[in-house]
Amino acid sequence: MEYFLTEEQKLLQEIAYEIVRERIRLVRAELDEKEEFPWEIMKDLAQADLFGIWIPEAYGGLGMGILENCLVVEQLARGCIGIATTFAASGLGAYPIILFGSEELKRKYLPPIARGEKLAAFALTEPGAGSDVSAIRTRAVRVGDEYILNGTKQWITNGGEADIYSVFAITDPTKGPRGASCFVVEKGDPGFSFGKKEQKLGIRASATRELIFNDCRIPKERLIGREGMGFIIAMKTFDKSRPGIGALGVGLAQEALDISVEYARKRIQFGKPIISFQVIQHKLADMATKIEAARSLIYSAARYLDSKADPPDASKIAAMCKIFASDVAVQVALEAVQILGGYGYMRDYPVEKLLRDSKILQIYEGTNEIQRNIIGQELNKEYGRIKETFIK
């Protein structure tokens, strides 16, 4: 199907897919098996200019939007969402600086992220603060020209590998959600260390670690925006990034469909290719239809979110992209394993990895349950403003 993309947008897709075909597909099984961080591929993505996607041109990036980011991560996800997540998490880590960073912070941190010389990471989740982000306990106390951070962040993507971290911490415990702030912390800052690398069900090429702040001292200029803006920064960042999680789901599901159709055309049972059986055709038809629906939603939503500075329903739309496409990814990967049968369950074929990998899409960057809360609350507010009645 034609989505009327520009020459530049199509080129981004082409370049990202070339990296999938020529590089990622050759190493993904090994990286998964060894739980090895994909540094070589990160170098390829840097050489391809892709880390600059949504960093403004003034800071060395390509100055593009949510749609372009979605197009790239969708292609990368056809290769491996462990790798695609590593890539996307750097953009997520940079976004608070792009949106609310001072000129000085932007100049210092965005160019190396755009060049892919340094990876970024986004650090919000804590052992006691997952879906309930207001429960974060990491403290930042201003002392003279410095902030001193204490606390622990958990399950931080790119933790230990990234050089630049956007870290959320409480600056005023009396103000609840309005007491949180966001800071740039660099690998190597005094008092900043890493905990164990997590062992995961899927996306095993990506690194997930604890961040430990033990009297970590940083200059006061590392504050992003103003004190108390932490939650606004986090939510605005998620509005930009969540369609990208949906795009990861679309890419993963597309890979599952591509493998399933090819396999079904070749696999002979009862003297015929199994694609000649309606039961298989119907499975494939549902998979393809769901993927196209998810892709259409994400591209439309991304175009809409890029078209305005601050759309009022951004959180709702971004949440819809995330839940719909991540649910599709899990369903499609599950069906792909079923179509390949015993082969699908074996590690010799790539679909068992797709199934293991897909599950994270419903969990990270806000669980799908939290996304549905966002959509539900927004509907309640929207309809509260409408004067017309629909029930006669």
Binding site: L11, L12, I15, E18, E22, D44, Q47, A48, D49, L50
Partner: protein, 265 residues
Amino acid sequence: MHIVVCVKQVPETQNVRIDPTTNTLIRQGVASILNPFDHFALEAAFRIKDMNRESVKVTVLTMGPPQAKEVLVDALSRGADHAVLLSDRAFAGADTWATSYTLSAAIRKMGDVDLVICGKQAIDGDTAQVGPELATLLDIPYATYVSRIEFVEPRVLKVIRQTDEGTALWKIPLPALLTVLKDVGRLRVRSYRATLRARRYDITVWDAADLGLSENTVGLKGSFTQVIKVFSPQRAKERVMIEGSVQEQAARLYELLKEQGVPGL
């Protein structure tokens, strides 16, 4: 510093056809690719450019029909600064000498070239002659089968060569020519910015007149060798087991080689 990388568009080896009258490759209608060994030549140049992106310029040079622009666009998309195509009907049918002669005229015309890098050979002709011939015509030193390149002084390279006799470490002053092996590094991926630029880049095309070459010195007319026939050799599978003591085996082997007319025996 100006680096010229010589590349060749070669037919995809699956579909090679030979013209029965000229005994040369039929290139029309066959998918062309960048000679795989030239990937490494490009990467070697890009790695030198990585050391100083401002002062190092990489020009990619090829000789061929207009469709050879495709491989130049590909090289530009991966980071080459400039591209030159040598194209003229008179260049057709060139052997390695005529090819080297034409390439050398183009490099002389550029004037300021410090380093020429070639792949070790092309996968169609497999001669590995053009690199050394080109260096000879340009009257510059050369090193073949290079696996590693380092700068020891601003104008002196240290290269490691892999030869049948072993590994050689050479110092070589610039200007120079290198032919490189895959060890110098896998060719990098296309870059978004470079590809956009490549699509709009106006490739320089020089013909025989631009190079000041007479038609008798280029192409088939300028070639000292002509391909009489191309065929797959018949391989007679004959195996002889020689037994006995080492001395007896050596003596028998000597006789057999002599019977076969091996020169020098």
